[in-house]
């Protein structure tokens, strides 16, 4: 029996879709069977980030309306074995789907796959509730700023009321240089405030934008700091003990070192 995990945040634009694509790909690279579900009905983009937009024929809406089988609606990834995408309908609205319907899809998928990851829409309305309906566990994505952390706190409260457990945190777009200058909330302060388990830290990485442009998840690009961070997160999710390294500052010296160690 696999795990169903919702990836959510409250605030928009903090990295839910990026994280779903990269963690899903990383888990598949580690040999797990994975389905990633786009639950952002009406504003779908997980297919684009994965570079699979041209392969999408059916969506979760078609499965719900019994226009096609669940298996047939799954899109196979172009690069990794055992990685599937269930796309969201672009023409429907978030309240066209009911929580029970999402729950049913998740129940059926977790029998066949090791991991079912759900990319939640922003907000705390119907779309979020649908995304969380079939999940047993949650990953909260936040960036180190006041409004994202505030929204994360609200979401954690809502998920705890639904008995979703464990709930862990990914701190995205951390910049060690800004933290050191005193212009960014530090990892320890975020953890002290939210008081939930830390699953990983993903640094600010220009590579994320380039990878989205190409439609190739960052984890395929060995050696970039973001890719390494997502690989470590995936390893932790498979039960390996991988310590969270203290982030090194981005300075002249480390840039030179990086330059020399580049392939």
């Amino acid at each position: 029996m696999g795990k169903v995990i919702v990836i959510t945040s409250g605030k928009g634009g903090v990295g839910k879709t990026t994280s779903t694509a990269n963690i899903g790909t990383a888990l598949a690279l580690l040999g797990k069977t994975v389905v990633i579900i786009d639950a952002d009905v009406g504003l779908r983009n997980l297919d684009v980030v994965m570079g699979l937009e041209s392969r999408v024929v059916f969506t979760s809406m078609d499965v719900i309306e019994k226009k096609c089988d669940l298996e047939k609606a799954l899109v196979k990834d172009r690069r990794v074995e055992d990685l599937m995408l269930l796309a969201a309908s672009q023409r429907n609205r978030k309240d066209d789907i009911k929580p029970e319907q999402m729950q049913d899809i998740c129940e059926r998928l977790k029998v066949e796959y090791d991991f079912v990851l759900i990319d939640s829409p922003a907000g705390i309305e119907q779309g979020f509730h649908n995304a969380a309906a079939g999940a047993e566990e949650a990953i909260i994505i936040t960036t180190p700023d006041v409004s994202a952390i505030r929204d994360a706190d609200r979401i954690i409260g809502l998920l705890q009321n639904q008995d979703i457990n464990p709930i862990s945190l990914i701190l995205n777009r951390l910049s060690p240089t800004l933290v050191k200058k005193g212009n960014m909330i530090s990892k320890n302060d975020v953890l002290d405030i939210l008081n939930i388990d830390l699953l990983g830290i993903v640094p600010e990485d220009e590579g994320v934008i380039a990878s989205t442009n190409r439609g190739v998840p960052l984890v395929h690009n060995d050696g970039s700091p973001g890719a390494e961070a997502y690989m470590r997160i995936a390893r932790r999710m498979t039960g390996q003990r991988v310590p969270i390294p203290e982030m090194r500052e981005d300075n002249f010296f480390s840039n030179i070192l990086n330059w020399f160690s580049r392939k």
């Binding site: 952390i149 409260g157 005193g182 909330i185 405030i193 008081n195």
Partner: protein, 85 residues
């Protein structure tokens, strides 16, 4: 945190963000108005002042998440001089 420290160049913006967040989250988690919070804080101070000597308005309250529930924390500065009355 006072008004002056918000605008002082010397206070790091990350410290200000952390302080503001703690205040905002305490209110969000309590789900009460700022007025009720202030009133509770004031009344708590009054009760404590019956037993200890300390400056009024120095109680600070927060809700800390502990697993699936919250713990109400009230801190007040206790000094050697704050002898039990």
């Amino acid at each position: 945190m006072d008004f002056k420290s918000i605008f002082s160049r010397k206070t790091k913006s990350s410290n200000i963000a952390t302080q503001r967040l703690k205040l905002i989250l305490t209110q969000d988690r309590f789900d009460v108005s700022e007025d009720s919070m202030k009133k509770l804080q004031f009344e708590l101070t009054e009760v404590l002042a019956k037993y200890f000597e300390f400056t009024m308005n120095s109680v600070s309250m927060s809700l800390k998440r502990e697993g699936n529930s919250y713990v109400l924390m009230a801190d007040f500065p206790y000094q050697e001089s704050s002898k039990l009355r």
